[in-house]
Symmetry: C2
Subunit: 142 residues, 2 copies
DNA sequence: TTTTAAAGTTAGTCAAGGCTAAATTGATTT
DNA sequence: AAATCAATTTAGCCTTGACTAACTTTAAAA
């Protein structure tokens, strides 16, 4: 039968799934930096309590996640103070905001109901490549 | 200010995120039942070693996941034997297969490169509502 | 200024989903 | 029949992301 690695050429999906696992780890980070940016814009600052309310999780969970985001260089925080985005965090938040908007507008252009478009965009946005995003953008006329 | 629940009507996203967290738990299940169905069709049976190879994880990880799937009623398995889908598992696999196809065909119809479409479909499929799926289906002419 | 309430933190627990290393089982060779 | 090899299982560990309960800090009211 020859080289085993050539036996199932159409099924070498391992890399796809590996990247999907990595992608999931990024989703929470992206949701947080987006939400923090929203809060800073809308309320002037990002407090744990607001994040907890909007994500529907406890304050303890927010605390854990913020620590991880800080470790990974996306935010800065000091005990009992509000949360700030680093330059890296701001950059990611802005990228996510644009991407979210493109996905949402695309679904609207497709004729999807706004409420459903908002919900689906939240899930889809993390899994759209640059190429597909460009196709979405082109379809809805930028 | 009245009812606090009406104060931020555009920001009651907690439910959206709660559903997304639930959705993630379903993704692995869906990927596994889909892959098991593929293996049974293509190779006559679904063995742990094949799942491990295709997902790019170790056999131990497959073992854990299969136990969870069995607990949740999607598969049956006996020690050192191959894995079978229950009726519930077959149903989910078939639903996923159809949905995957619709998403993939839709991306192709949009002009996305097949390799990228395949990759993105794998991530997007788990986050598409029935309504959006219908819109995709309609766009690519079924 | 003292008390109280809200916000934030810490400690400990759990499930999912990964891993490695070691043990076991089943199947194939010799 | 015994040895060997591949597949599977088990045990133990890790990280993420959730929780509750208890504690501390900050801010606001009395």
């Amino acid at each position: 039968m020859g080289d085993p690695s050539a036996r199932h050429p159409r099924h070498n999906k391992a890399e796809v799934f590996a990247q999907l696992r990595y992608a999931h780890a990024r989703e929470v980070t992206e949701d947080y930096v987006e939400m923090i940016a929203d809060l800073i814009e809308e309320e002037g600052e990002a407090r744990s309590v607001a994040l907890a309310e909007r994500f529907g999780v406890t304050a303890a969970t927010v605390n854990n996640t913020i620590k991880r985001l800080e470790r990974d260089g996306f935010v800065t925080s000091r005990p009992y103070r509000s949360i700030f985005l680093t330059d890296q965090g701001k950059e990611l938040a802005e990228k996510c905001r644009k991407r979210h908007e493109i996905v949402y507008n695309f679904l609207i252009a497709l004729g999807v109901d706004p409420a459903i478009a908002e919900f689906d965009a939240e899930g889809i946005e993390h899994h759209v490549s640059e190429e597909t995003l460009a196709a979405f953008s082109k379809f809805s006329g930028n």
